[in-house]
């Protein structure tokens, strides 16, 4: 995740922007962590302060400030070398990035042996900051930065790139259903963009309650609610999300973190923390 951009048109750092009780950075990092099995690396400008991050997120520094996205890509991929073969690169400012989008892009890259970059061309634009890269491209990216060739296009020139247009992306039925307009790639650059994005309703998610949690709050469900975080989903069904309660996202990872981000179509199960015999 590239957090070090200039945010000049926004007038303040985008990574710290409030997002439904959390921050934009926290949200994007959380969405990435949900999809990938490897670590999430946040690349920041030298000395840049970051808002609170979910546990397990690594932080890498851009060696020099203001050298643009390719340097960030180089630093991020370098931090992953030896830990992963492919990576999804994202900027901080994509509030609607959906896990299914990341899964689709990485899925294509993982399955195309002769491909170095899976590059979405969504909503009419190339999306180098919502794309999949082979981690070993770090070297080439670093060299290009040294040569002052600072645009991702230079990296693509010397890589085997597979582009994914809207139709190709939406061949994945899950993505087509949950993010039909490919809002995943929408980014917020100005205070106006931000206000408009923030004014949208939170994603629609399903909540189910189990065991004593059901007895304490609403009935078991399923309940359809709008919530951008696990904490908000708990509030929506009047569950007290304290140490006696945990949440399982889509039946998968279990969390106690209120700030865990939700996306459209998610299901949250609230369980007693003492589940088990």
């Amino acid at each position: 995740m590239l957090a070090g951009g200039q945010s000049s048109r926004m007038g303040r750092p985008k990574s710290g922007l409030e997002w439904h009780g959390s921050t934009l950075l926290r949200r994007t990092a959380g969405i990435m962590a949900r999809v990938t099995s490897g670590p999430v690396v946040v690349v920041r400008a030298p000395g840049q302060g970051l808002p609170e991050l979910p546990e397990g997120v690594l932080v890498a520094d851009d060696p020099r400030e203001g050298r643009g996205p390719l340097q960030g890509i180089a630093a991020g991929l370098a931090a992953l070398s030896g830990r992963a073969e492919i990576a999804f690169v994202a900027s901080t400012d994509m509030p609607f990035l959906h896990p299914a989008f990341i899964r689709r892009v990485l899925g294509v890259l993982a399955q195309s042996e002769g491909t170095d970059v899976a590059l979405p061309v969504a909503r009419g634009y190339k999306q180098p900051l919502a794309a999949g890269y082979r981690v070993w491209l770090a070297e080439a990216a670093e060299r290009l930065v040294k040569e002052d060739r600072l645009r991702p296009a230079f990296l693509f020139e010397e890589s085997r790139v597979r582009t994914l247009d809207d139709a190709a992306l939406k061949q994945d039925p899950v993505l087509a259903a949950l993010d039909p307009d490919l809002d995943s790639v929408l980014n917020v650059n100005t205070p106006g963009d931000y206000a408009a994005a923030r004014a949208r309703p939170a994603p629609e998610v399903t909540v189910q309650l189990f065991g004593t949690v059901a007895k304490g709050g609403a009935s078991g469900g399923p309940h359809l609610v709008r919530a951008a975080t696990v904490g908000a989903a708990a509030d929506a069904v009047a569950v007290v999300f304290d140490r006696h309660v945990t949440a399982a996202l889509n039946g998968d990872q279990i969390t106690r973190d209120r700030m865990t981000p939700l996306a459209a179509g998610d299901t949250v199960f609230f369980l007693s923390a003492d589940a088990g015999g």
């Binding site: 189990f210 009935s219 078991g220 889509n250 007693s272 589940a275 088990g276 015999g277």
Partner: protein, 607 residues
């Protein structure tokens, strides 16, 4: 002898000759092993003949009490039954709670150890007048509950009974010992008792046990009682463990059809109502109606939820028996599962091993490895028929399955060992290792075999504090910690369902133990005690032939990844499991093959 909590001696009965003796238990041993599971391990190491056949006369069977028995502390009326398991050939210790614990200890002994083999089916009586054997000819073939009733009416007031059912008499390797409707369930202790020609043991109180600091213990008891009404035990009080069924299904942790899947399509039916009622869990549910709640002796939690189907019999339903006889065998009718559970109680067999072994046989039948086309997943009548054939050993198939899934798969062959659902010969409980990696380790390394009570590592998986699909160092630390906690709780003994009320467990437990005994035990000392007990079990197992390959999981779990509804794939590879086991050994101070060095063994004070 300590100022309270103990009598300082064990009663050793040789049922071959009908004679008994009192064996002093040194202070150091009591302090080092506490009681219950810990003291039982020490006793077994001392008294068992190395390499003895678990079903032979030379294998002792120990009923071990604990310092807290007889105090007003909630959930403390418990005892451990400890022996070499006929399923695993290693140590097994089953805990149970009932008035038997109190009456047994107040015979004036910290343990009753039984050796030999009675000349005919007998009942052993122990009270203030000593020990004697009486004939059990008239009890032959009775259920444990009927035996209990008959004996108590014959013997008169004050007697408490632990008995075996017909399966124990016939040497079913996973037979249980029962008392007050509770069971020392796992590992085949009922078969060990049956091999001693003992149908029952009856005990009657004759002594009083001192408490070192009665005021402190009473205050602690009041406090614990209050806490036992709080949110940490709400699940057990309000719903019982059956509530796990829906939750585990939702998180792909519910093994079904012999671990072919981690969800079960019949869960909603089994747990009651449609998916729309998901959280309504287990209360007055479709078909299965909750008719009562009850508790063990001296317990303020009361986790027993009694159900009834139609006009059928009342049956206690817990997660494990419903899992094993339901999803594991593909059965989703609540009435059928309760009936199967009642049948296990009548026969006196462990529901988890019975369900696991039958599920394995169903898969064998499906694959044509066993010629029993009637034995199909999901067929409730087939399940009941199989249980009957096992309990009676009345057919070749029944006799085969009475041996448990490990032995049966060795006989059947054809690759069926790869999906025999056991560790060390003990069938797996209802926790899916592929989606619960801390638990996977706990199950693999545990001394008793696949067991969810001596290792509670699933707690860490379900806590959200670690990534349950990505086992690593954090999972190893969690597995060690829960194993240590269980070792102390099982030796004190306190019910595991109380565990959530302690905020600083070792220190709080040390205070309880000090109040009862007069020792100045610290939390730190108890942590050492925990490690000693865990190590002693391993050392016992090594003496009895444990090999590194025994700390492992069934091949199926390592070779067949699961696809989760979230789109993720849950895999537990052999490499990952091996790495976790390696770290576990290192953390426990064992060599890479899982063996302690000489000094560590000497420190245990076993020899």
């Amino acid at each position: 002898m300590p100022a309270g909590g103990y009598f300082g001696r064990a009663l050793v009965v040789d049922v071959t000759s009908g004679t008994s003796r009192s064996q002093p238990l040194p202070d150091g041993v009591l302090r080092g092993y506490i009681g219950g599971s810990g003291l039982g391990t020490w006793l077994l190491y001392q008294m068992g003949t190395p390499g003895a056949d678990p079903l032979g006369p030379a294998a002792p069977l120990a009923f071990v009490f604990s310092p807290l028995v007889g105090t007003p502390l909630t959930t403390s009326a418990k005892f451990a039954v400890v022996a070499k398991s006929p399923l695993t050939g290693m140590l097994t210790d089953a805990l149970a709670s009932s008035q038997f614990a109190i009456a047994g200890k107040l015979t004036g002994h910290d343990a009753i150890v039984i050796d030999g083999r009675a000349p005919e089916l007998s009942v052993l009586l122990v009270d203030g007048d000593g020990t004697r054997l009486i004939t059990a000819a008239h009890l032959t073939g009775l259920t444990a509950a009927d035996t209990d009733r008959r004996l108590r009416s014959e013997l008169g007031r004050g007697w408490r009974v632990a008995a075996i059912g017909p399966a124990g008499e016939r040497g079913v390797r996973y037979a249980t010992i029962s008392h007050d409707g509770r069971h020392a369930g796992r590992g085949g202790l009922g078969a060990v008792m049956g091999a001693k020609n003992l149908k029952a043991i009856a005990v009657r109180a004759a002594a009083k046990v001192a408490t070192a600091d009665p005021a402190a213990v009473l205050a602690a008891a009041r406090d614990l009682r209050e806490r036992s009404f709080g949110p940490a035990t709400a699940k057990y009080r309000e719903l019982g463990t059956l509530a796990n069924l829906l939750a585990f299904n939702a998180i792909s942790a519910l093994p079904s059809r012999n671990f072919q899947s981690a969800t079960f399509d019949g869960t909603a039916e089994l747990a009651g109502g449609a998916a729309g009622n998901a959280g309504g869990a287990a209360e007055d549910i479709d078909g299965m109606r909750r008719v009562a709640r009850s508790s063990c002796a001296s317990c303020t939690i009361g986790c027993e939820h009694i159900y009834r189907v139609g006009k059928g019999r009342k049956v206690r339903a817990e997660y494990e028996n419903v899992f094993a006889l339901g999803p594991m065998c593909g059965v989703s009718e609540p009435g059928a599962v309760l009936a199967a559970s009642a049948r296990c109680d009548d026969l006196g067999i462990d529901t988890i091993s019975a369900g696991g072994t039958i599920a394995w046989a169903m898969e064998c039948a499906q694959r044509g490895l066993i010629d029993a086309p009637w034995l199909r997943f999901g067929d409730a009548d087939a399940l009941l028929r199989a249980l009957d054939e096992i309990g009676a050993r009345s057919t070749p198939l029944g006799s085969l399955l009475a041996e448990g899934s490990r032995r049966a798969s060795a006989t059947v062959g054809g690759g069926s060992g790869a999906f025999a659902p056991h560790v060390k010969g003990l069938e797996m409980p209802g926790y899916e290792p592929r989606t619960l990696h801390a638990m996977a380790l706990g199950l693999a390394v545990n001394a008793r075999g696949a067991d969810h009570n001596r290792s509670g590592a699933y707690e860490a998986d379900l806590s959200g504090d670690l990534v349950r699909l990505d086992g690593g160092e954090a999972h190893v630390t969690a597995a060690v910690e829960t194993e240590d906690r269980a070792a102390v709780m099982d030796s004190l003994i306190l019910c595991k369902f109380l565990r959530g009320v302690f905020t600083d467990p070792f220190t709080e437990w040390a205070a309880l133990l000090s109040g009862v005994t007069g020792w100045d035990v610290t939390g730190r000392e108890l942590r050492d005690t925990a490690r000693r007990i865990v190590m002693a079990k391993r050392v016992y197992n090594i003496r009895e032939g444990w090999q590194p390959a025994d700390d492992w999981l069934p091949d199926r779990l390592l070779n067949e990844p699961l696809s989760l509804p979230s789109g993720r794939v849950a895999a537990l590879t052999a490499d990952r499991l091996r790495a976790m086991i390696g770290s576990y050994y290192a953390m426990r101070g064992l060599d890479p093959q899982g063996r302690p060095d000489r000094t560590a063994v000497d420190d245990l004070g076993l020899a």
